[in-house]
Symmetry: C2
Subunit: 210 residues, 2 copies
């Protein structure tokens, strides 16, 4: 795998992008979860666009349960989020321009009833955010591997909000700069997905005949 350690960001992109399917939004097949960031800042204008995209996601009863806590690199919030990450993620995420924690209100504001779609809707808003970021030439990487209780405590997040993922966001850097060989290898290995026949059923367990 030694040769792969010298792939450039552009070469890695070629490997990482999903095969283009005619008529499928480019942002969907071009989005992938890189770990190499070049350390550049992201402008307020660009950040507003990615949150604007999240804002217009669909949600159950239009509850919009999502609340994002954003830490720009250099801020206390960034530092707290970085510290909550597992060691593996902490190694590379510090070069992101921002770390964003997604949270979701677990009860409907109109009547206090439990909202079983809280995390589902947060996932949708986060997907919008990552697609918009991809369209703007940014990279995002969502991480489930963080110390939830530490993050909750450090950021003062009330118990009635469920935590989603920590999202690293920034501009792509060169894979080689990741340093760690195992990270570089991940960065330059093609993505895989199950075939449609395993995820789209007509009857349960049987590939749909569309």
């Amino acid at each position: 795998m030694a040769a792969q350690t010298f792939l450039t960001a552009k070469e890695a992109d070629v490997l990482k992008k999903a095969p283009a399917v005619e008529g499928v939004l480019p942002a969907i097949h071009e989005r992938w979860s890189a770990r190499s960031f070049d350390g550049r800042e992201v402008s307020a204008e660009v950040l507003e666009k990615v949150f604007e995209a999240a804002r217009w996601a669909a949600s159950s009863g239009n509850e919009q349960p999502w609340r994002f806590v954003v830490g720009l690199r250099g801020s206390e919030t960034f530092r707290k989020l970085l510290e909550s990450l597992g060691g593996f993620n902490r190694e590379w995420a510090g070069r992101a321009a921002a770390l964003i924690l997604g949270t979701a209100a677990t009860r409907f504001s109109r009547n206090g009833a439990e909202n079983r779609f809280a995390l589902y809707d947060l996932g949708a808003a986060a997907a919008n955010l990552t697609l918009e970021a991809a369209a703007l030439g940014l990279t995002t990487h969502q991480m489930g591997g963080f110390d939830q209780e530490a993050a909750r405590k450090a950021l003062g997040i009330p118990a009635e909000y469920a935590l989603g993922a920590v999202i690293a966001l920034g501009y792509r850097g060169e894979p080689a700069e990741l340093g760690n060989e195992s990270l570089i290898e991940r960065e330059t290995t093609p993505r895989t997905r199950k075939p449609l026949s395993e995820i789209v059923f007509g009857e349960w367990g049987e590939a749909a005949k569309l």
Copy 2:
């Protein structure tokens, strides 16, 4: 509100689309959850594209927990999903070309551990699906209001899969054809979302200074 009952689908779109923000993906601000379908079928080619979009969503550990059960109108699966809907949704959803139930494996296949991102990731895949549908000129409407246990039983969905939403998908019809005045009014009322200051925090509860 009587005048609104005569808005055409095109006029309703003008009201429903989110204000365009330069640089934000058109599919994101143009997507909205219509209830008026024109009854037309959707081709296999188009359905493959919307599921292709879902397939490339990000997921925790690349688990891809999503499994979709698709019922094309006229099929048994469609009938079962339609029957599981609440009366309010059943009134209009029968004219959709397809009803799709999203489900998510609640345990990681690699080690059987609980996947707390199952519904989060399903929400992301569903968001991709709805955005791709919007890009292809289709409309989608996700519904949380259905009898989960009835749907699970009728479709034979194993207990280890959590249920997400039922998604109605098809081509837009004219609002007036919804018949019911309250449905028509909903179809022609502008969408609303919280401002960014209420959903993007720097510290918890305080609008982020981007």
